[in-house]
Every structure is written in structure tokens, then in C-alpha cells.
């Protein structure tokens, strides 16, 4: 089949990194992503289903990889060549369930690799040992953190791929009630909601808690929606770069929305603390109880540390890669720097135990998340698609996806 594929090619990764500093579309042309005919992946074993892609989103981590900016940390956690695409709504191809729409929970967890579950009912991303992700499973599934980075399974940027039973969420609602355009956002929403729930233990019991969100792309907006739905009685302050992002942040439940450069002052106004350096440094004497950094740059992490109160928490939702940081503030303020990679088993403030994808399915419907899907492209238009996704903010877009419904 013809698919988008990334092969291990150091020269292409390097070229993408150099060219990507100037032009995202240029990086795609010279980089490791190729639209080519690939061998169909073999079924890894029992419990694996062939999934035909309907819509597959383009994520920030995909863009990092295509642009040659991904961290070498992932060296041991990916297997080349692979088909990207982990934000997927598709349909089962074989057997009695053929035609059933599914959403992919992409982490290739314990069940998919024949490892014992860390606890009963564990979701793919649960557990405190990632050894199963870094080794070849008994079924021959090569190392990878998730579908979309694994040579054995294929990925969503192809007409079809293999998914393990443990990775599938069947959409039992009619397509009119849960259209594909909404369903393709379930995975990123699960990520955002997971980050939002990491605020819960910090704000619990605080008077007038404030959570700041820096960045309002797909992940930031998902986090805002999650905060509003699942963390009661908080004030949400959002800094977003573009006007359309600010409008959506308000629509998704933010209390105060400002431009990204005004976030420090907006948080100060909410909290009523001091701004140090006579107002010129932007560092606050106190700050937000929790800041969710949905950007993941040196600047955004530094900003998050400056606006988070002592003994507060910074949640890194945006994938940071290489950053350069002055961590004195983190040390002095004893801030908890918390990563937020995926999703899994969650315990809500009322004690309910659930999993993030179920929360995300509810949330995308509640906020009509399809409004975030700004444009779709076919696989052969991938240069335009990647360029659009890389410049989404300034082009008034949020989420870009590949649409394979016609071609399939």
C-alpha cells in the first residue's frame, strides 16, 4: 500500500533540522517523511485487528519528528521504518465487527506485548516500568512507545494498520452523534484531560485556586476543557498567542484569556501577589497553583516557572525536547515539574475511577470538539498538510488531519 513513512536516515533528519528552522514545508521536502509504497505489515498475532483509517490527525510530536527536532531520547523507543499517525478514528476491517468505528488508544502497552498488566484493569499507558515498550515482544512487535512510531504495526497515516484489542475504543454511537471529525480529537483530548487532572492534588483544599494554561493549540484547549469539566471551583487563566485560540479558550471554559505575553500579569491579577523587579521581570511572588505548559519550549517552561506559586506544580503537556533553562526558580520555589505524556487510569475528585479516553469521549461531545478540526488533506497532499499543521496558529487553524475515507 501507499503510505507516509519515516525511515532512519541521519542525513535527512539533519537536513530537516537545518531547513526546518526557516521553512516547515521545506523541512518536509528534505526530511525523513516519504510518501511511498510500503510492504503491508504482518499481523503481529492474536488479539490484533486490522483498522482502516478514516481520519488521522497531525500532532506536535509528529511535527517535531518530521522537522528533525525530536529528542534522541526516543532512539530506544521507536523502531524504523514506521508509519506515523496515532490520533486515529478508523473502522475494523475483518470479521463480524467489520465496519465498526473505533478510536485508537495508541500506547503499545502491556497487553499488546504479552506482558502482565501492572494491575487489574490497567490501561496501556499505566505502570511504572516501561521495559515492555523497549523490547521486541513475543509476537514480534518491535520497540515503540506507541502506534505511529512502530515498524510492526503501521500507523494512521496509511490506508490501514494493526491495532491490539487493548488499544481500541469502539464507538457505539451513530456517526451523526459522534462524527469522525469529533472522534479524531478524542486522543489529543485524552492527553489534555490527563494533564488537567494532574492539577487536582495541588488545588485540592486551596482557597480560590488558580490554574494557568500557557498555549491554546489543540492540547491547551483540551486541557482547558478538562479543567473546566473535572476540576471543580478553579479559576482558569489562559495565555494564547492567536485571537482564534483565545476565542476557543473562552468557549471551552477559561475564565480569563489574554495574549501569551500578558499571562504573567493576568495571573498576578487573579492571585493578588507581587510582580518582582518593579514589574519588569515578570516573575511573581506567588502565582498560579498549577501551570499547564501546552507549548513545551525553553521560553514557555521558563514562563511557567515564573508564574507558578512556591510549592505549586508545572505540568509539561507540550513535548519539550531540548530546552535551556535557569532552574533556580524551580529550586527556590520548590515547584513540582510534572510531565504529562499520555493517559490511563484516572481517579476523579469524587473518587470515581475511570480511564482518560472515556472522559475524552464525553468531553469532545460536550464541547463539540469538531470545531477544532480546521482542514483535512489526502495523504498525497502531505506537504501542504504538514505545512498547514506547522503554521496552524498564524493561519487561524487548530487541528489538521489526513482524510482517507474517500481513498479507502
Amino acid at each position: 500500500m501507499k503510505a507516509l513513512q519515516i525511515r532512519r536516515n541521519i542525513a535527512r533528519f539533519g537536513a530537516a533540522r537545518v531547513v526546518g528552522a526557516v521553512s516547515p514545508s521545506g523541512a518536509t521536502k528534505v526530511g525523513p517523511l516519504e510518501y511511498r509504497t510500503i510492504e503491508d505489515p504482518e499481523r503481529p498475532g492474536d488479539g490484533w485487528h486490522r483498522v482502516r483509517t478514516r481520519l488521522a490527525g497531525i500532532c506536535g510530536s509528529d511535527l517535531s519528528l518530521i522537522g528533525g527536532r525530536a529528542s534522541t531520547y526516543f532512539e530506544s523507543w521507536v523502531s524504523f521504518p514506521f508509519v506515523p499517525g496515532h490520533e486515529v478514528v478508523g473502522e475494523l476491517v475483518d470479521g463480524d465487527e467489520a465496519g465498526t468505528r473505533v478510536v485508537l488508544e495508541p500506547v503499545l502497552g502491556h497487553a499488546a506485548r504479552d506482558f502482565p498488566l501492572p494491575f487489574d484493569g490497567a490501561r496501556p499507558a499505566d505502570g511504572d516500568d516501561y521495559a515492555h515498550l523497549a523490547v521486541t515482544s513475543q509476537d514480534g512487535v518491535e520497540p515503540a512507545i506507541q502506534t505511529g512510531f512502530c515498524c510492526s504495526t503501521g500507523g494512521g497515516w496509511a490506508p490501514w494498520f494493526w491495532a491490539h484489542e487493548s488499544q481500541l475504543h469502539r464507538l457505539n454511537l451513530p456517526i451523526n452523534d459522534l462524527p469522525d471529525e469529533r472522534a479524531v480529537l478524542i486522543e489529543p483530548f485524552a492527553g489534555g484531560i490527563h494533564a488537567a487532572l494532574l492539577a487536582a492534588p495541588i488545588v485540592e483544599g486551596r482557597a480560590n485556586p488558580v490554574v494557568a494554561v500557557l498555549g491554546a493549540g489543540t492540547m491547551g484547549l483540551a486541557a482547558i476543557a478538562g479543567l473546566r469539566r473535572y476540576i471543580p471551583d478553579i479559576r482558569i487563566v489562559v495565555g494564547a498567542r492567536y485571537p482564534h485560540q483565545r476565542e476557543l479558550a473562552l468557549a471551552f471554559g477559561a475564565d480569563v484569556v489574554v495574549t501569551a505575553t500578558e499571562l504573567d500579569r493576568a495571573v498576578r491579577r487573579e492571585v493578588g501577589c507581587h510582580m518582582l523587579g518593579g514589574g519588569e521581570s515578570g516573575a511573581l511572588s506567588s502565582g498560579a497553583d498549577v501551570t499547564i505548559d501546552a507549548v513545551g519550549s525553553s521560553r514557555s517552561i521558563a514562563d511557567s516557572l515564573r508564574i507558578t506559586r512556591p510549592r505549586g506544580r508545572v505540568v509539561l503537556l507540550g513535548m519539550p525536547a531540548h530546552v535551556e533553562l535557569d532552574l533556580t526558580g524551580l529550586w527556590h520555589r520548590e515547584i513540582d515539574l510534572k510531565g504529562a505524556y499520555t493517559y490511563g487510569t484516572e481517579t476523579l475528585s469524587d473518587g470515581t475511577v475511570t480511564d482518560t479516553f472515556h472522559l475524552a469521549i464525553d468531553t469532545v461531545t460536550a464541547v463539540e470538539a469538531e470545531r477544532l478540526l480546521s482542514a483535512t488533506y489526502s495523504l498525497d497532499e502531505h506537504l501542504d498538510a504538514i505545512d498547514h499543521a506547522a503554521t496552524a496558529g498564524r493561519r487561524g487553524a487548530i487541528k489538521i488531519a489526513f482524510d482517507l475515507r474517500e481513498s479507502n
Binding site: 493576568a266 501577589c273 507581587h274 514589574g279 519588569e280
Partner: protein
């Protein structure tokens, strides 16, 4: 003999007219046969031997005993003086306040008074930098009093140093600086640049608390202040005068010294700014072209530095001392002599160029809120009788209106712009909904008291200053301003004066009458 102000009817032969545009200026051609330009009177002659006149005023005061008779060896003497908001631009040294304070100190020394404090009457303005204190008072006073802690700045947020004097018949609270309240004599050294200043306002605002100031610095008072330059028709001044009477009856003895200055605001090479355009010489035209072109190439920061360096060669036109109310009536006569221009009737449009400076940005940035304050607060209020523009008419200003703020001087202005103006530009609404939060913000309080920041509530006051103009005008247009910033102020942006007139036609028709308030030069239009 200086020529009086006058009104020029624009015809086809009238040369283009000067408009300030912040740290720059432009020439604009106003429509012939329906526009008029109101020129200020030329600067009055100054007093020779100013120190002699000051001494004479202290020895022959109005409705009070001569100052030496009020000075006793064991008394508490407090000398207060206007802060850096006066004069604009700052006057060349020696400043009138230095001359007055030195004269008072000489007499106090002769009388054996040794408990003397000197207080900058800041109100809720920012504290003065030491170099500003030195400019205003001179090195001798600063070196003698500052290190010993006898020269300091009023702190409206120091509850231990504020004393309640009482309440007026209308229930307004008067509370002022404790040292002044407990003094046997308070001498106030003033510079009177416009009719709004001086009188009881000097002390009851300059030494007051927020609680006291909010009695009259509020939307209701300012909307009923018609105008700020006519205290007899100003709700703000009426409230202040009630407080003054209370101070007279229940407070310390106040000996007011007021000086009026002429309008010689710009030294070489900017003296052409105050000339009437058709009288510009070839040199003036050359200077205009050279300075405009050079200014256009400079970054804002450099332009500001250059303009704020200007020291005005003002001449002092009168000195009067004694009982505050009597002194101020004499002051007003002298101020009006310099400023009044008789104008016949109102027009559909009022145009004005907004300069680089206002009372609230000495050595600082003219931020968007101050543009509003300067246009609709100060320049719109330069009238007696009725406004120059008809009710529902259009005010057109020229200013770049960049979204720039001085982070040290105006921290609460930044938040006011981001938060309050995003919600409302209605003075009454913002007063109810937002003012308290800003007035009581601990960070603003800290910066006001220890740094060089205007009080947290100050942007509200700057906004209220324009409340009457805002209510009166049907539309406000800013020519040459950043569109987004102008819109956030609630105004309409225009690229050129012609565009502005086109936009104004929706409100005032195709052939509106136009008045242009010629600035620089200060004038008060006496509109009949």
C-alpha cells in the same frame, strides 16, 4: 506688548496648521470656509526680580498676617510643594518652588524655627526621583533636608501618617498628611500653569488619602465638571472647596504661595512650535522639516528622551501669597489673562494634537490611557462657558497611540488597559466593578510607596478625567494611532485627517464646522 489670542477663520490661503503627534508633529490642512483655528495669546511679560516679588508677597500677603509674624521659634513648620506633574515641560532652574521655599526657609531661620519638614505633595502620583527633587528645589535644600529625613514625599497609603480632619457638610471625609495636620503652620509652594490647579486643591489633594480623593475623583463629579478650568462650574472643585473650608475651620493654618507662569514652553530649536504658521520664517520652516524628518527616523525611546530633556524658559507673571481662597482668586485672574480667548459659539468638530507629555508622564511614556486623558480630559476641558464642540459632535485627535507603557511608573495602567478596558470603557461601570480591586492591590500599593509608580487607582482617575468629554462627544477619532489600541479605548482610528473628516461625516454631516485648538501654547476658550 504681547498679542492676545485670536480665532483665525481658515480660507484657501491659510497655510497648513501644526498638530502635535506625540513625540512628533505634522502639518494638516483644514477645510476652508468652515474651519477656525484658536490661537493662544502670546506669552505675557515676566516679572523682573522674581525673588523680590516672592519676598514682597510673603511680607504683604492677602488676608493673612505677614509670614514672619506667623513664624515662632518653637513651632512646627511644614512646607509643601507641587510635585513633578508641574510644570510641563519642566521649567529651567531655578524653579519657582525653589525660590519660594528658600525665601520661606530664610524667614524661618531668622525667626528661629528649627522644626521644619518639607513634603512633596504627590497625592496619588508617583514619587519624585532625587534628580527631580534637585531640579525643583535645588541642591542646597535637598542636601540640607533630604539626608536628615526632613525632606520627603507624601505617602497616601501610610495609615500612621494620615489624620482625619473631619467631614464636610455634604459628608465628604477630609484626611491629610499627619505632619501637616499637626503643624502650626503649613506653607504651600505652588506653580500655577492652568486654572485647574492651585487653591484648596493643592493641599486637599496633594496631601490626601485615597479615601479622601475618591470623594471627588469619581465619574459623577467629573461628568459634572464643566469645566476643569472653571472652578465655579466644576463639581470637582466645589467638593474640594468644601474640604478647603473644613480645613480652614478645623485644620492647620495654611499660608498659600501661588505663582503664575507664561506660555514660553519651548526653547530653541523648538520655538517655532508656538508661532502662528503664516508667520513662520524660512528658518522656522527649515527647522520644522528637519526636526520632523529626524524625529520620524528615531526610535520612540530616543524621541522621548529628547523631548523630556526640554527645560522651558517660562517667565513668572505673578506671585501672590496668603489665605488660600483669596490668593487663588487673584491667581485665576492672572492665569486667565494669559490663557483666555473669546470664541463665538460651538462647532461640529473639535481637532487637537496630543503632545508627548501630560501631567501624568513626566520623564515617562504617554500611554494610551493618558492619550485619552490628555485629549478628553485636559484639552477638551480648555473652555469656559460651553465646550468648543457641540454635544454629540466629533473630537479628532492626532497621536500615534502606541500600546506602550512605562512598567515602573505605570504598572496598574498596564493591567487597566488589559483587564478593565477589555471589559468596559464606561467610567461609572469601571468605578463600581473594578476600582476597589486596583485601589487595594497590595503590589500596586507597595510600588507606589517604595518605587516610582502611580497609585493603583490612578488609571481610573486618568480615565474619569475624560468622562465629561466622553459623555459629550458623539464620536472620538484618533488620526495616526495604532488601530487596535485606538479601538480598545472606544475610539475610531483614522489614517489621515481627511479620512477622519470622512468618518466624522457619518455623525456631523458633509459640511461640518471645525474648531482647532492650537497646541502648543495654552489657552482657555471663553465660548459665548
Amino acid at each position: 506688548m504681547p498679542r492676545p489670542g485670536f480665532v483665525l477663520d481658515v480660507d484657501r490661503s491659510t497655510p497648513p496648521t501644526l498638530f502635535w503627534r506625540g513625540e512628533g508633529f505634522s502639518l494638516e490642512r483644514l477645510p476652508a470656509d468652515r474651519s477656525r483655528i484658536i490661537y493662544p495669546p502670546e506669552p505675557l511679560a515676566g516679572l523682573d526680580n522674581l525673588d523680590g516679588h516672592i519676598r514682597d508677597a510673603l511680607l504683604n500677603p492677602l488676608d493673612m498676617d505677614p509670614l514672619p509674624e506667623l513664624l515662632k521659634p518653637d513651632m512646627k513648620l511644614t512646607i509643601c510643594f507641587d510635585d513633578a506633574s508641574l510644570s510641563l515641560p519642566k521649567m529651567q532652574q531655578p524653579d519657582n518652588r525653589q525660590r519660594i521655599v528658600e525665601a520661606v526657609l530664610d524667614m524661618a531661620a531668622e525667626a528661629g524655627v528649627d522644626d521644619v519638614h518639607i513634603i512633596a505633595a504627590l497625592g496619588l502620583h508617583r514619587r519624585m526621583h532625587e534628580y527631580e527633587l534637585r531640579h525643583v528645589l535645588g541642591d542646597r535644600i535637598v542636601d540640607a533636608f533630604l539626608p536628615k529625613g526632613f525632606l520627603y514625599q507624601h505617602d497616601a497609603e501610610d495609615p500612621d501618617n494620615i489624620t482625619e480632619i473631619g467631614h464636610t457638610d455634604e459628608g465628604e471625609v477630609l484626611e491629610i498628611n499627619k505632619r501637616a495636620a499637626e503643624s502650626d503652620l503649613v506653607v504651600y509652594a505652588n506653580i500655577n500653569q492652568v486654572a485647574m490647579d492651585g487653591g484648596w486643591k493643592s493641599l486637599t489633594t496633594g496631601l490626601a488619602s485615597y479615601r479622601c480623593l475618591s470623594e471627588h475623583h469619581n465619574p459623577a463629579s467629573l461628568q459634572n465638571t464643566r469645566s476643569l478650568m472653571d472652578r465655579h462650574h466644576s463639581a470637582l472643585h466645589k467638593s474640594i472647596w468644601r474640604m478647603g473650608e473644613l480645613l480652614r475651620d478645623s485644620g492647620p493654618t495654611v499660608f498659600q504661595v501661588e505663582t503664575t507662569i507664561n506660555t514660553e514652553a519651548f526653547p530653541s530649536p523648538f520655538e517655532f512650535l508656538a508661532k502662528r504658521e503664516w508667520e513662520w520664517t524660512a528658518r522656522d520652516r527649515g527647522l520644522f522639516l528637519a526636526s520632523s524628518k529626524s524625529l520620524n527616523k528615531l526610535p520612540n525611546r530616543t524621541k522621548r528622551k529628547l523631548f523630556h530633556k526640554i527645560e522651558a524658559p517660562y517667565r513668572t507673571t505673578s506671585v501672590q501669597a496668603g489665605f488660600t481662597a483669596t490668593v487663588h482668586e487673584r491667581t485665576l485672574e492672572n492665569v486667565y489673562q494669559q490663557h483666555l480667548v473669546e470664541v463665538d459659539g460651538q462647532t461640529d468638530i473639535l481637532t487637537m494634537g496630543i503632545p508627548f507629555i501630560s501631567p501624568y508622564n513626566p520623564e515617562s511614556i504617554m500611554n494610551p490611557i493618558l492619550v485619552m486623558c490628555m485629549g478628553l480630559g485636559y484639552l477638551f476641558n480648555m473652555y469656559r462657558g460651553k465646550p468648543l464642540v457641540k454635544e454629540g459632535g466629533v473630537v479628532i485627535m492626532t497621536h500615534p497611540t502606541y500600546e506602550e507603557f512605562h512598567p515602573v511608573h505605570h504598572p496598574s495602567y498596564i493591567d487597566f488597559f488589559d483587564e478593565v478596558l477589555a471589559d468596559t470603557n464606561d467610567p461609572a461601570v469601571m468605578s463600581t466593578k473594578w476600582e476597589k480591586k486596583y485601589a487595594e492591590d497590595e503590589w500596586y500599593r507597595h510600588l507606589y510607596r517604595t518605587s516610582y509608580a502611580y497609585h493603583g487607582v490612578h488609571p481610573f482617575y486618568a480615565w474619569y478625567w475624560g468622562a465629561h468629554g466622553q459623555q459629550h462627544a458623539g464620536k472620538v477619532i484618533i488620526v495616526g494611532g495604532y488601530a487596535a489600541t485606538v479601538r480598545k479605548l472606544g475610539f475610531t482610528p483614522a489614517s489621515t485627517m481627511n479620512d477622519a473628516l470622512e468618518i466624522a461625516s457619518d455623525t456631523v454631516g458633509r459640511s461640518p464646522t471645525i474648531s482647532h485648538l492650537h497646541v502648543p501654547g495654552v489657552l482657555v476658550a471663553d465660548v459665548k
